[in-house]
Amino acid sequence: MSRLTELTIAEARTGLGAKQFSARELAEAYIAAMERARPLNAYITETPEIALDMAAASDARIAKGETRPLDGIPIAVKDLFCTKGVLTTAASHILDGFHPPYESAVTEKLWQAGAVMLGKTNLDEFAMGSSTTTSYHKPTENPWRKPGDNRPLVPGGSSGGSAAAVASHAALGATGTDTGGSIRQPASFCGIVGLKPTYGRCSRWGVVAYASSLDHPGPIARNVRDAAILLGAMAGHDPRDSTSAALPVPDFEKALTGNVRGLRIGLPKEYRADGMPAEIEALWQQGAQWLREAGAEPVEVSLPMTKYALAAYYIIAPAEASSNLARYDGVKYGLRVAGDSLDEMYELTRAEGFGAEVKRRVLIGTYVLSAGYYDAYYLKAQKVRALIARDFAAAFENVDCLLTPTAPSAAFAIGEKQNDPIAMYLNDVFTVPANLVGLPALSVPAGLSADGLPLGLQIVGRAFNEEMVLRVGDVLERAAQFTHRPSFIAGER
């Protein structure tokens, strides 16, 4: 009983099925862990009553032999997914008090599969950031600290609350969203697994929109198998999202065969960019070596447009954001600041309701879409994006997947890089290309930095081939044997 929060999703599923413990007991263990994790500020809203109700429903189904795939599994939901009747903030002041009248497609699927909602997790405001420090609800702390150094570190972002909750055992799994690396980079910073599926695999319906052509919902978990299980429940066609793919959802767990013999693994030479830290380069080579020892064949590939991906991203994402965030006008929901005229009310509401980074991106986006500049910025970026897609298509003619580092560094201190937007944007240098082209990408913890902090490796696959990405990730995970633990664990030991 005391070690329930140590179980993986697969193990908890087995234990629940064998009636070794109840969904209620598992939920209670996680509710207690969630309370102990409060110093991390991983959750914006805790929903213990909902968790206990859902657990009771799971116990009833299990007793009747009608168990669903995720029955009794307590998970955290990034506070960017609308949850019916439960406060949804996007970590922004401007959504104060917003209780959605509907449930997002992905969370609806999770609850239908029997999962149990623990609460809503913190993020960078509107998912704009790589550190979970731009949240209106205060930063989230990484459960990891450098040995001998007590400074709090960022959990990465934007899904930093979900990553910190899962890494500290204050949730068994979580949902995230990834627009430029927001699932994979926090997974790397927190020593856990994060999967950005193919664009269209998980419905965006009911996810607060940031940049619609780049937003990807996906799972965050403690290992690759758990990520596969969660993805199976989150994925699937949804007619309410016009870009949702009408494809069957495979049994992703079955992809974990442990066999990568004969697979060709591409190492993009352009990722060996100037100034890649030696320890990141070494871990990358180690990852290639592990796959070689498992029978795969690492080969060098070229993605010549790589160096332009970040610049294209920082035109396209703010452009789409400026359009999506036009809806926050003080009329329909959230914050309103009174003004003498309608326009003044809009301006004052948006001035007070948006934080500095959101304003920066809305202004950049407004500018690059404005008359006279659209061609030079937005259209140019969409052309470069087409060239980036060509690069990937050419590379995938010769390889089955790509292996790269997830992020150019380990977690940094809260407050660092805060005054230099471009230094912050560079966190996403290895993750952004997969968003621009919509390909599935997984981050797996692979080692520790010299400072004793986790570092991830990323596997990128062909469109709708999450199975390949998970299969290779599983082999990498077994080889890396990453058993290190953060300095703070909220779950019982």
């Binding site: 870009t243 326009d343 404005s370 140019k380 087409a386 897609a389």
Partner: protein, 95 residues
Amino acid sequence: MALDKAAVAHIAALARIRLKEAELEPLAAELSQILTWVEQLAEVDTADVAPMTSVAAMRLPMREDEVTDGDRRDDILRNAPQSARGFFAVPKVVE
């Protein structure tokens, strides 16, 4: 592209974000830095490249044009900062 204070004020007006006078100068510097950085894309030859308009190689699905949801006025108004007689309420627009 270097933006000056007047350009930032114009963009902010388009974006309906009220900025204080003291915010204009630092934002002009930050936004100029970001724009200068993204302008490296000018190096790329895109003469014969069509802009990417869709991430997935798919046609947008078609469906019957019929009502599938509705009658939820009160649900929707519940989140409004101000409503009156079943409508969203805003400051007076027409005299």
